[in-house]
């Protein structure tokens, strides 16, 4: 669906999916499991094509495609398949004496018809992962893949309908007009991955219909490096977390480093050595680096580097190949805090290093900025680690490594403040797309006459006793002790 997908067409799609949802089709475990199995099969059967699409869109190295997109999407399917029955089960909860006898439970139910808007940097994973959650929770879904990753969008639009139930899951390709047409509709949930700017637009659209949201946004993910570390390991982990992640074009990629003035030279040295080891003397020629996604991002990054107060701080890299949209891994040292590169999310292969006297003081600096999606610390000092975890707020944190928190399906993945709202992965995906309905069930016994009008002081006393568990006044009232004379029933 390219031309012609306007508000009317979008309304039609939503109406169809609503109809299907009402039919109850998506509610059974069987249906949901069948979709998830089919999705896993799609990934298995088309791994080469997926990798090829990712290579087309981003020059993404096959190892990254496997590690960061294909395997994670597959794992999400399998994990959901394994756990789905448990997730769908109503959860019994305790009841109180005031409603005795009764039973209480929390029943998860799908919201209904949901919209997933994906991003371009992990275009396969960030489309599939939320869709897996939506399906596991029993919703019907419309997926809008990012138009900036054209081959992946096309792959998804072509292949998903062959594996999944088309009456419940649709793919709408397109850009701003199509996304706007979709956002005008009434959704029961919207899941958006992308920038804070568009996140605001999505939330504003959601307001019309009081649609709840998950917004997976970004931010400047800081990496604090203490001197008390195994520096070789640190360098490797930072480099693979940054440049080994779509050449830094990742929402949780380390954005900038903070270290002490004393330690900076050692760190810079170690990073230089590691970078050369990984990408060779001519990184522009390395096959193991993604390219910059398109020319407008290339220009954006180039401008960050070319800014007057910045260009002199480059200590490694800076080479560019505009024709192939490649920028070499670039380190900058002591960039002024008011430079654009220190204010905007970089989302590219540039790594500023800021030096401070005392690492702990930088916690306040980080907290004075918008809360990032991830914050990293490298240290062997447990006290410092504890203080970091306690003081710094971020979507998630990782000590002594980068980006891996993303892969643990028992951890919620999401932002806070400017980096987003809501979370997903594993059970959190199921929860993100479910309404937790409280259900209290009684019979006709257990009548408490004291709760009914006409209200009397005696009735109030009795209820008070019942509620506070303070039974003496209640007993006195029941035996008609002086001062508690009236009968209990009106």
């Amino acid at each position: 669906m390219g031309k012609g997908f306007d508000g009317a067409r979008a309304a039609e799609v939503v109406a169809e999916l609503r109809e299907t949802f009402r039919s109850g089709r998506t509610r059974s475990l069987r249906w949901r499991a069948a979709q998830l199995k089919a999705l896993a099969r799609m990934i298995d059967e088309n791994e080469a094509d997926i990798a090829a699409a990712l290579y087309h869109d981003l020059a993404k190295p096959p190892t990254e495609s496997l590690l960061h997109e294909i395997s994670l999407a597959k794992e999400a399917c399998l994990f959901a398949l394994k756990k789905l029955k448990r997730w769908m089960k109503p959860q019994k909860v305790p009841t109180s004496i005031t409603t005795f006898p009764s039973s209480a439970k929390i029943v998860p139910e799908p919201f209904g018809v949901v919209l997933v808007i994906s991003a371009w940097n992990f275009p396969f994973l960030l489309s599939m992962d939320p869709v897996i959650g939506a399906i596991a929770a029993g919703n019907t879904v419309v997926l809008k893949p990012s138009e900036v990753a054209t081959a992946t969008s096309s792959f998804i639009a072509k292949n998903l309908p062959h594996y999944l139930d088309n009456s419940c899951i649709r793919v709408v390709e397109g850009s701003i007009p199509e996304a706007s047409a979709l956002l005008e509709q009434k959704w029961d949930k919207i899941f958006y991955t992308g920038s804070a700017r568009v996140g605001r637009i999505v939330m504003a659209a959601a307001v019309k219909h009081l649609t709840p949201l998950v917004l997976e946004l970004g931010g400047k993910c800081p990496v604090l490096v203490d001197s008390n570390v195994d520096i070789k390991v640190v360098a490797k982990r930072i480099v693979v977390g940054k440049w080994g992640c779509n050449s830094g074009q990742a929402c949780i990629a380390p954005d900038y480093i903070i270290t002490t003035k004393a330690f900076a030279p050692k760190l810079v040295d170690a990073l230089k050595i590691t970078l050369e080891k990984f990408y060779g003397k001519d990184p522009l020629g390395s096959k193991d680096l993604s390219r910059i996604v398109n020319s407008s991002h290339f220009t954006r990054l180039k401008n960050l580097l070319d800014e007057e107060k910045v260009s002199g701080t480059i200590v490694l890299g800076g080479q560019e190949d505009e024709k192939h949209l490649k920028i070499a891994p670039t380190l900058l040292l002591d960039v002024p805090s008011d430079a654009s590169i220190m204010k905007e999310e970089i989302f590219g292969p540039l790594m500023p290093i800021i030096t401070v006297d005392d690492l702990e003081h930088s916690f306040d600096v980080i907290n004075s900025k918008p809360k990032p999606l991830a914050a990293y610390l490298f240290t062997k000092d447990h006290k410092l680690e504890k203080k970091f975890v306690k003081t710094v707020s971020a979507g998630g944190m990782l000590i002594n490594d980068a980006i891996l928190q993303f892969t643990n399906l028992h951890l919620p993945f999401g932002g806070v403040g400017e980096s987003g709202m809501g979370s997903y992965h594993g059970r959190f995906s199921f929860d993100a797309f479910s309404h937790k309905k409280a259900v209290l069930s009684r019979g006709f016994s257990g009548e408490i006459p004291m709760r009914y009008p006409p209200y009397t002081p005696l009735k109030q006393k009795v209820l008070r006793g019942l509620i506070t568990g303070n039974v003496l006044p209640l007993l006195l009232a029941l035996v008609g002790w002086p001062g508690h004379r009236k009968s209990l029933v009106a």
Partner: protein, 493 residues
Amino acid sequence: MGSGREERGTGAGFDGAMAAELVAGLRRSFASGRTRGHEWRAAQLKGIARMIDEKESAIMAALHEDLAKPQMESYLHEISLAKAACTFALKEMKRWMKPEKVPTSLTTFPSSAEIISEPLGVVLVISAWNYPFLLSIEPVIGALVAGNAVVLKPSEVAPATSCFFAKVLPEYIDNSCVKIVEGSIPETTALLEQKWDKIFYTGNGKVGRIVMAAAAKHLTPVALELGGKCPVLVDSSVDVKVAARRIAVGKWGCNNGQACIAPDYILTTKSFAPTLVDAMKRTLEKFYGKDPLESADLSRIVNSDHFKRLTGLIDDENVSGTIVHGGQRDEQHLKIAPTLLLDVPHDSSLMNEEIFGPFLPIVTFDKVEDCIDFINSKSKPLAAYLFTKDRKIEDQFVKSVSAGGMLINDVALHLANPHLPFGGVGESGIGAYHGKFSFDVFSHKKAVLSRGFGGEAPARYPPYTPQKQTILRGLINGSIIALLLAILGFPRD
């Protein structure tokens, strides 16, 4: 900002600049770390509990002034629930604050992972007028137990209770972290312009949208506790006396129907309707006497705007003829008697707007299934009720009706269970609270993964080779051998 004892918003003065100053001050308090410790949070909750104990009669008096709320209701629905929220939070707080350890995977071996709850920061609570004490203090309790700094904006439509908060609450809690702003639209607007870390709003869908739109500017997450038309489906397989009592006390015994979870309308079968109407009439007379306008056990209508709104609903010419009980009103005292209506036209305003008053329309259908379809044709309500002894109907109802919460064979009680999330879905709201859900709604769940410098897997590093990919594939598929190979440094450089 003076002593911070009360921010009088009425009249001139509380504008955007003052609101910004207020938030800045709270941000500084929050940044100082003051609210983070367990002792501080417990002290706030104990302070609130003490306030409820010591000022019970003042609270009841305020509620009576604002709503003519009977003492019994003030106790049952506001004071006891607020106190229970404090007690429950005090008891469970340590457990809620404890990080939750979660399993780690082979791919990050060795590592440890946990989820840490941290406060969002500086939050705004906007309360409603119908349970003006509870709906102010309960979200505030949640915000405090989660370690946030809070601004409370009580409803100006319940001025005595609002004034109570402004004057009395500061004596019991830490003023550097909890502020009360009285006022109406201008003050609320000034507050909504600020950047909050969370906004918790209780009220109606129209203003809920305004709140969410303001929140969108700062990407502020919101909890919206809204309303809706809470249906009561009454099957014929019931103990009709008990059902009638429970419905009546759930409707008119709840602020005279001015409650977000009060039964809004009844659905039943054509054949059962007469029995039900009869039982309801008898129950109403038993509860409120022959002249309900004189009963001390009924709240009044909150103000003349709502009074006019309500009388307009039943004075509609297509509706007034369907009244089978009640309809009396006393404009001077803002009282309206419990009113039953039978077979009201589906397109009337009464059947399309949230009533929020003492009218209970009864609509009839041939079959129970038709009733369920009717409920599902409307927006999702905050609560849905069913009276039946038939397990199959109960199961079908729970399965096919979506609502914030549900109660089978009673009304309203589910909000008293702190183990159940209380909140809406769709038009009835976003998010939930009560018990641990209050703590969660005001917390950020931060994922923390921690590694050491061991467990290096050279296979993950460039230059990428087919051999490395094979090992990684094995690792991903959970192969222990692959893990060993990876950790032992294969393939060798």
